[in-house]
């Protein structure tokens, strides 16, 4: 995050060489007393290692900001420093600021200022994980020769410069995120001169001088009588310090003290008064809001009125030049480069974001929850993304009826983990990283499907924001037509801000992974199809095959869940599958559903390009289908081929009860290829067998896919709702259904 303009207060501690634990205790006291920041002073001849202490402080505090001060020694590699700082920022959840200074010039240290500049440059490059290639850098002091970038810190760690030589001041003005200096009674003029030079340099480099805030260390004595700068009563301190803030652009005061009494008096009597006084004296635009770096402004895309982003969203909006952009530009399977990502935290913010997006009708608009869209283009190029990932609460509304409210940004593994303590589960899919928003508006074909239906079959109500910005609730009793449409085609009608589900009681489950011989692929598929249809509803299995592997027998990977905690039942259910063909590998475990879903730890949304997939829903695996599928698999056109068992409870629901209408299917088939035309051509052979498609797994952009996803009666009904609720096609990133010519083209 870029610097905000409010005044903050820090504590500057001198570490003790024999009792560093005292320093830790002071930092903790500082946190309790309301200080925003703690730093460790570097005393000449100091032997205690400040970084170790600061890391320990990070581990023994919760909230307080951490200002690390580094002297650039030629022997220390900025690449390693970058990693250390990123780690501390990650471990402390974004609490770090880093100040760099030169060490005394010496035989080993002949270019101290270059050392600082090079350190700054190298750290920034190591953190720029969105940039291509490795880091190469040749300086006078440091050389980097192809280092891998990363890790990036948790937030945009400000890099400050300490020092008052003209070279360092210019460097601070040109490149730094702030200047750290010291003020005492006699050095005020030097401070002002330094500050002025920094301001001029910043402007000369096309920067806003406010991009280089001033952080100053102060030291003083509380006494009953006035005796010079910061010597006197609390009120005298306020008199001395206020001009620094109001007239000289100081944003942070660091109190250097070893005495707890001084610390506390400052926290209780000086800091609050300065905060109040500053907020009434500082000009309005410096009190709130966020200052974006000039380098970021230079990367804005055309056609977006960035300066009109609603107040509510200013703090959390991410632009292409912002630190967080590399983390949000792409999704799990798709590369993107949007012009603006609006992160919403409340329904009000969703309404505001949608209103802003609607002022840009010519730009692509993507709605994103978990970022695992395949059909859903939840990123774009140059357009707007409304990102709901921060809206991820999971609340139990009523234990007796197992009613649970889930926000769209939650992930299915988190949902599973939250329900487990109640002995409940909600069927979702095979991957815990998938988000609730995209899946629960489309279907939800999961491992409990045959026994418990689709995810949408458990949906009882939704809260939505519609295209016109209105907020509605849809259920079986209100906005019923919308409620029907949301369950299968939800992405077309608005932004769901909360889902209410009735979840099921589910105990531990049997979880099996079997590697089976599939040399005769067609025969294998057919047998698996029969076995799967014949299995009781408590058993749902997904089958995966990869491309042919040279000189090795074809192998099928079977993942099966048995909704039973009884080992004998589990074995009995799995045996017919194990009998299909020779077994290469097997693992069967009894575990909570949530443990099966916990399979997406630490993943990141670093997709590139576009996923190339096709989907089909199938009633039975006939010999003819099996033969065609076997040919497709052996052709090498697909690198991932999966058939999932559906049917069972999913088929109990009437076709017209929800917009997901293909209820007769017993199988969902999906193929991933690397080449659009080639996959589409190969798919032609399978196409005649299908009764329809699951839209979530379909990426063919041709409009006739719409009629695969929705049978004619469903599509006609969806068009009516679309015409009524979204006549301008605001929502068009995932199977948009109001292409006017489509009805004629396909009927």
């Amino acid at each position: 995050m870029s610097p905000t303009r409010k005044v903050t207060f820090g504590l500057a501690l001198t570490p003790s060489a024999t009792h560093p634990e005292h320093t830790i205790a002071q930092a903790q006291l500082g946190e309790r007393s309301g200080f925003d920041l703690v730093t460790l002073l570097r005393a000449p001849g100091q032997v205690v290692d400040g970084w170790t202490l600061l890391s320990w402080i990070a581990g023994s505090t919760e909230r307080i900001g951490l200002l690390g001060q580094l002297a650039c020694l030629p022997s220390e590699m900025p690449t390693v420093t970058a990693g250390a700082a990123a780690s501390l920022d990650l471990l402390s959840q974004g609490r770090l600021t880093l100040a760099i200074t030169s060490d005394e010039p010496s035989d080993d240290n002949q270019h101290p200022v270059e050392g600082v500049e090079e350190t700054l440059d190298i750290i920034r490059r190591m953190w720029a994980i969105g940039e291509p290639g490795t880091v190469r850098y040749t300086g006078n002091v440091h050389r980097v020769d192809g280092a891998q970038r990363g890790p990036a810190p948790a937030h945009d760690v400000p890099l400050l410069i300490t020092g008052d030589s003209p070279e360092l001041l210019r460097l601070a003005g040109e490149k730094s995120d702030g200047w750290l200096s010291e003020i005492n009674g006699s050095s005020l003029d030097r401070f002002i001169a330094g500050s002025t030079l920094i301001g001029h340099t910043a402007v000369a480099n096309g920067r806003d001088p406010r991009e280089v805030p001033k952080i100053v260390t102060i030291r003083g004595t509380f006494a009953d009588t006035r005796g010079g700068f910061l010597h006197g009563r609390s009120a005298d301190w306020v008199d001395d310090l206020l001009p620094l803030i109001v007239d000289h652009g100081v944003t942070t005061l660091l109190l250097a003290t070893e005495e707890n009494a001084v610390l506390q008096q400052f926290a209780e009597e000086v800091a609050p008064r300065l905060r109040d006084a500053a907020s009434s004296l500082l000009p309005a635009q410096t009190r709130t809001g966020r200052l974006r770096k000039s380098t970021a402004i230079a990367q804005r895309r055309s056609g977006i009125r960035y300066d009109d982003v609603p107040d509510l969203l200013v703090d959390s909006a991410i632009e292409p030049g912002d630190f967080d952009f590399p983390r949000v530009k792409s999704t799990y399977l798709r590369g993107g480069s949007p012009g603006l990502v609006l992160r919403t935290r409340t329904v009000d913010e969703v309404v505001a974001a949608l209103g802003f997006a609607r002022e840009h009708p010519h730009l692509p608009l993507s709605i994103r929850s978990g970022g695992h869209g395949i059909s859903g283009r939840s990123t774009n190029d140059g357009g707007i993304v409304i990102n709901l990932s921060l809206m991820n609460r999971i609340d139990v509304l009523d234990e007796a009826t197992r009613r649970v409210r889930i926000e769209p940004g939650a992930r299915w593994m988190d949902v599973a983990a939250a329900l487990q303590p109640y002995g409940w589960a909600l069927t979702s899919g095979d991957y815990g990283g998938v988000g609730v928003g995209g899946l629960a508006t489309a279907g939800g074909i999961g491992f409990l499907g045959r026994g418990h239906g689709l995810t949408i079959d458990h949906l009882r109500a939704v809260d939505m924001v519609l295209a016109d910005g209105s907020r509605v609730r849809a259920s079986d009793t209100e906005n019923t037509e919308l409620f029907w449409a949301v369950r299968g085609a939800g992405a077309n009608f608005g932004i769901v801000t909360a889902f209410e589900f009735e979840v099921d009681e589910v105990g531990d489950v049997g979880w099996a992974q079997l590697g089976l011989d599939a040399t005769d692929t067609a025969e294998f598929l057919e047998k698996w199809g029969h076995t799967s249809e014949a299995a009781p509803r408590d058993t749902t299995s997904f089958l995966i095959m990869g491309p042919p592997r040279h000189g090795q027998p074809a192998l099928a990977q079977l993942m099966a869940m048995v909704d039973s905690a009884n080992p004998d039942t589990i074995i009995e259910r799995l045996q017919p599958f194990a009998n299909i063909s020779p077994l290469y590998s097997q693992s069967v475990q009894l575990m909570p559903y949530a443990a099966v879903m916990a399979n997406a730890q630490g993943e990141s949304n670093g997709g590139q390009g576009e996923p190339v997939t096709r989907s089909g829903l199938l009633d039975h695996i006939t010999p003819e289908f099996a033969a065609a599928a076997a040919r497709l698999i052996s052709s090498g056109t697909v690198y991932f081929f999966q058939i999932r068992a559906v049917g069972g409870a999913i088929s109990d629901i009437d076709a017209d009860a929800t917009a997901y209408a293909h209820r007769s299917a017993n199988f969902s088939v999906v193929a991933f290829g690397s080449h659009r035309q080639r996959l589409d051509a190969a798919w032609e052979e399978l196409y005649p067998f299908f009764t329809g498609a699951y839209l979530s797994f379909e990426t063919d952009p041709r409009p006739e896919r719409l009629t695969d996803a929705f049978p004619p009666a469903t599509l006609a009904r969806l068009r009516e709702v679309k015409a009524r609720l979204d006549p301008d096609s605001v929502f068009r990133d995932n199977f948009p259904i109001s292409i006017p010519t489509l009805t004629e083209a396909t009927s």
Binding site: P20, V48, T52, S55, L73, L90, L91, Q93, Q148, P151
Partner: protein, 297 residues
């Protein structure tokens, strides 16, 4: 049968992954609660998916109560030995004597050079490590008179102030495999920390390696028993036994007891990135302790 006469230590070798950021810390806390003696992390500063091991050690030490922490092993070529010595002493002080210094001469030289480190031959890297150990001990020797001077070919310290004084006698444990560095370990270190996975002949290789350490120690006038022998291990807990360290906990107990008694290993550090493994290994630890104590009599 060799017995160097150390009490047994059991620890966890935890991947210092930075995603999710707290994983490694949580594992260290789990190991602490389970009653293991050591939480250790490898150190590869050029690996973007890992935390900086020093920062992680300091943070994890603050979050734990009782367990000792160590790099397994720290990467000397990317760390300044004088800074490392002061950092180690600082962490030892803060943690009340819970820090041990596992250190290695460096291995992935392409990656080290890419980061701005100096490429050394294996021979040079051993010499550099021995110089670094002199610097560690010199910085920690706050009772010695005069400032520290080490005039090595790789590291030079010219009159540095000593200190801080660690809370306990920090063990310098070297990750080593080849005869030359094993002899150096015998000459200069307090412990030896190899990984079983890198021994082509399995535990049997330990006999010859121990002999090199013993030789190095004896030649330097040290008692070979003053060098603790530890071993990184990995395996799998499963219902049925299938070879070395794949099987039920009782089988692990027998096998580790055998290695302890046969090769004088007094520290076992298991690859553990989940709580279940940590728990089971704590059970194994209790079993091995009992059996070894019974055998030692």
């Amino acid at each position: 049968m060799i017995d160097y006469g150390h009490d047994l230590l059991f620890g966890a070798f935890i991947t210092p992954t930075n995603s999710p950021p707290m994983h490694a810390v949580d594992m260290a806390i789990a190991a602490d609660r389970a009653g293991l003696d050591l939480a250790t992390f490898q150190d590869h500063p050029y690996q973007p998916s890992f935390h900086d091991t020093w920062t992680l050690l300091s943070y994890a030490a603050a979050r734990t109560e009782r367990i000792r922490l160590s790099g397994n092993v720290l990467n000397l070529p990317l760390r300044d030995p004088a800074v490392l010595a002061r950092s180690a002493a600082s962490l030892d002080l803060l943690s009340g004597g819970r820090f041990e210094l596992g250190i290695g001469a460096g291995g992935f030289w392409d990656a080290i050079e890419a980061m701005g480190g100096r490429r050394l031959t294996p021979g040079q890297s051993i010499e550099a490590l021995e110089e670094a150990i002199r610097i560690f001990r010199g910085i920690w020797a706050t009772d010695a008179t005069g400032r520290l001077v080490v005039d090595g070919s790789f590291y030079r310290v010219n009159g540095a102030k000593r200190g801080p004084k660690p809370a306990h006698d920090i063990g310098v444990w070297v990750g080593a495999y080849k005869p030359r560095i094993l002899r150096m370990t015998g000459r200069a270190a307090d412990g030896w920390l190899p990984s079983l996975a890198y021994l082509p002949g399995g535990p049997r290789d330990l006999t010859a390696m121990n002999a090199h350490i013993d030789e190095g120690a004896t030649r330097a006038g040290r008692d070979p028993r003053s060098i603790r022998r530890l071993l990184n291990i990995s395996g799998q807990f499963s219902a049925t036994g299938r070879g070395l360290l794949v099987g039920p906990p009782e089988q692990w107990v027998d096998q580790l007891t055998g290695i302890a008694l046969e090769y004088g290993i007094s520290g076992f550090i298991v690859t553990a990135d989940d709580e279940a493994t940590i728990q089971l290994f704590a059970e194994v630890a209790a079993g091995v302790r009992r059996q070894v104590a019974a055998e030692r009599g």
